[in-house]
């Protein structure tokens, strides 16, 4: 994900909204030629706004997945219009994920914090972000421990439950207890309104231009 980073990303919430917009308008207009023009235009818009790495990254997937789904659709329907719509839908999904691929989760969290979203929500998001790498490393350690104790067969439900799930749950409970204490002793209080947002994400002129172009394109796709 880090390799798809954008130097100056679009305002994070706008980035999420743009994904939803592209997906909705792309799917709604999928049967028309305007959809292809619209999706191509949005792809170019992302490219111009610095998302070129993500734009290029989705191309191979769009070609392969598009090819497979179009093939299946044509084989089932024998109808060129339906196949064309299927191709547009796949492309709509691929274009919609471009901002998501480049969006750093911390930017979205900062954005929400700046908008004074409930602190428990933003803290929960931060913890969730760190949870998956933690889960992976704990899983590896427990698997190794199982092997060293001669309980290596995870396909045996009893062994899986006792030697894998029990230590995993115990570890996760211990970690969450420590985390709760740590957050509490560092002054976190979900009810406290008197906190500072250190890094605020600001809405800039380029974000407004991006939003205007996207809205204009989306409306044009429906009207045309």
């Amino acid at each position: 994900m880090g390799t798809l980073k954008v130097k100056e990303p679009v305002y994070p919430l706008l980035s999420v909204l743009s994904s939803v917009t592209v997906l909705v308008f792309g799917l709604v207009t999928a049967k028309s030629v305007a959809a292809s023009v619209y999706l191509g235009g949005v792809w170019l818009l992302f490219l111009v706004f610095g998302y070129w790495k993500s734009c290029l990254a989705v191309l191979p997937f769009a070609i392969v997945a598009g090819g497979i789904f179009c093939g299946i659709t044509y084989a089932l329907s024998k109808d060129a219009t339906t196949t064309y719509a299927a191709a547009n839908r796949i492309v709509a999904v691929c274009v919609a994920v471009i901002p998501g691929l480049a969006l750093e989760p911390i930017a979205l969290i900062r954005n929400l914090s700046g908008l004074r979203a409930p602190r428990i929500v933003t803290l929960g998001m931060m913890i969730a972000l760190g949870f998956f790498p933690l889960l992976r490393s704990e899983t590896v350690r427990i698997r190794e421990a199982m092997i060293t104790r001669g309980a290596g067969n995870v396909f045996n439900p009893r062994i899986f439950h006792r030697a894998f799930l029990v230590p995993l749950v115990v570890r996760l409970v211990n970690i969450s207890d420590t985390l709760a204490l740590s957050v509490g002793t560092r002054g976190f209080d979900p009810k406290d309104k008197n906190y500072t947002v250190y890094r605020e994400v600001k809405f800039r002129l380029r974000d407004a231009i991006f939003a205007l172009l996207l809205v204009a394109g989306s409306v044009a796709a429906v009207v045309v």
């Binding site: 913890i127 760190g130 060293t148 104790r149 001669g150 570890r171 211990n174 560092r186």
Partner: protein, 487 residues
């Protein structure tokens, strides 16, 4: 005015029948570093929890006596009010990190205290400088020592004048300990009150102005500092007869191990002989644990080869007779999974009679029906060693068996491992940075440095290694003191 004063504090946890603290007194003054020590389960962490407000605001129970923080009765303070005066560095840094960037992690506490953005930026920069961190580092890729420094930096940035640290040296290597001790010394000289809770009194005592001891829930200010320290750093005696090199059980030839671009080990040549006790030494992060993982066959080398030998079968395959090697992890929680201690030890045991014999030898019969995860950390450690030993491995690998162990628990554990070694003639490989048990677990020592085996030899190699480490510690201490005076 004292920074912290506890007067006749008694505390009983809700789920417990006995009091953990029983009329404990304690004082900490501004400009002072206090070391607080005592056996496992003696009440150190409970006392810390009272000082930083975890008790009674998060953990509940029956509490008597008075606690004063910065002259104010803590009984009338909220947790947030206490935490504005007391900064806390808890154990297990790994589990406390929530942000992906160092700067954000350090800023988190400052944000909670409502500091201005300018102040946060200033404090983050200062804390990073003090702890040798870069604000742009990714927190997910930090080493254990760097994570410990990061959590300490988070507390330093919030600027409380009273700082409490619970086993802060547990994951720090020489350099990390030097950075932390230097920073704490400077803070104390600027009027901060610092409380350090540590088992490793020898490491902290040179920096401490006062030492407090806790036993059976009662505290006592130590008057004879040097006598107290020497009592707790006494080396455990070797009770085994020296072994001569037998046949080779494991041979590592030109072994290397790399993770992505990072070379952890390279060109490692090492043999493990039947019936020997091999000590693996080195600074944190030098690759000691990786070496034991390779020797035990848990992971494969990225270059070179490791062979295991059997007198009857010759060279063994990677998965053949894997139970011949028993590994005891640094954290016993990973290896305990059966519903009772008795079943835990019987799981994978050579036979039932041997499991019973092992349980008796380790003195675990009275805990036979307890759930292993319900035991204290010291007891869990004993159960994990007993469970691995019950499978009668030809090679027993102990990874940092001293972490979180007080002197008495450590002596007991080392004696048991030595007795089993004398009885069974197994090979024991121990990874440790603890001089107290080194002599008792060593026939041969190998020092890992620069990603390879830098030196091998007898007990004298281990002796020299620890003497040099101590010399470095003393040098650091005097260098820091002189720096403080100059300022």
């Amino acid at each position: 005015m004292n920074a912290v004063r506890l007067s006749r504090i008694s505390f009983r946890y809700e789920e417990s029948r006995e009091r953990t603290l029983n009329g404990a007194d304690f004082e900490l003054n501004y400009g002072e570093i206090a070391l607080f020590s005592g056996a496992s389960g003696s009440g150190k962490s409970t006392l810390m929890s009272i000082i930083c407000g975890i008790i009674p605001h998060i953990t509940t129970g029956e509490i008597y006596g008075k606690a004063y923080i910065d002259g104010e009765d803590a009984g009338g303070m909220t947790m947030a009010q206490i935490n504005k005066k007391v900064g806390v560095v808890l154990q297990n840094a790994d589990a406390q990190i929530i942000q992906s960037i160092v700067e954000d992690e350090i800023a988190f506490g400052c944000e909670n205290f409502g500091m201005s953005r300018e102040d946060i930026a200033l404090n983050v920069g200062r804390a990073c400088d003090k702890m040798g961190l870069s604000p742009v580092w990714n927190t997910r890729t930090l080493s254990g020592g760097q994570k410990q420094r990061l959590i300490t930096a988070c507390t330093l940035a919030t600027g409380q004048k009273i700082i409490v640290l619970d086993e802060p040296l547990a994951n720090l290597d020489g350099e990390g300990a030097e950075i932390l001790a230097g920073a704490l010394r400077k803070l104390a000289s600027k009027g901060y009150a610092i409380l350090i809770i540590e088992h490793r009194v020898d490491k902290v005592a040179p920096y401490a102005d006062v030492i407090w001891h806790i036993e059976n829930g009662r505290t006592e200010r130590v008057t004879d500092k040097s006598g107290y320290v020497s009592q707790r750093v006494a080396r455990i005696l070797d009770i085994c007869a020296p072994s001569s090199a037998g046949e080779t059980l494991i041979r590592a030839e030109k072994v290397g191990f790399r993770v992505k671009d990072r070379m952890i080990l390279s060109d490692v040549d090492l043999e493990v002989y039947r019936g020997e006790r091999l000590l693996i030494l080195g600074e944190n992060g030098c690759g000691k644990t990786t070496l034991t993982r390779l020797l035990s066959g848990i992971c494969r080398p990225t270059s070179g080869r490791i062979e295991r030998f059997d007198s009857k079968r010759g060279i063994l395959g990677l998965r053949e007779k894997r139970h011949d090697i028993g590994v005891v992890y640094q954290n016993p929680n990973y290896q305990l999974f059966m519903p009772t201690v008795e079943k835990e030890i019987a799981f994978g045991a050579k036979d039932k009679a041997y499991a019973r014999e092992t349980m008796r030898l380790f003195g675990l019969e009275r805990l036979a029906d307890r759930h292993p995860q319900s035991l204290s950390e010291g007891q869990k450690r004993l159960v994990s060693v007993a469970a691995v030993c019950a499978s009668a491995p030809r090679v027993l690998i102990l990874d940092e068996p001293t972490v979180g162990q007080d002197h008495e628990n450590l002596r007991r554990l080392v004696t048991l491992v030595s007795e089993l070694h004398s009885r069974t003639g197994n090979s024991v490989i121990t990874v440790t940075h603890d001089a107290r048990c080194a002599d008792a677990l060593c026939d041969r020592a190998a020092v890992v440095a620069g990603g390879t085996i830098a030196m091998t030899g007898g007990k004298e190699v281990a002796d020299n290694f620890f003497k040099n480490t101590e010399k470095r510690d003393i040098m650091r201490f005097y260098t820091q003191k002189s720096k403080v005076k100059l300022r």
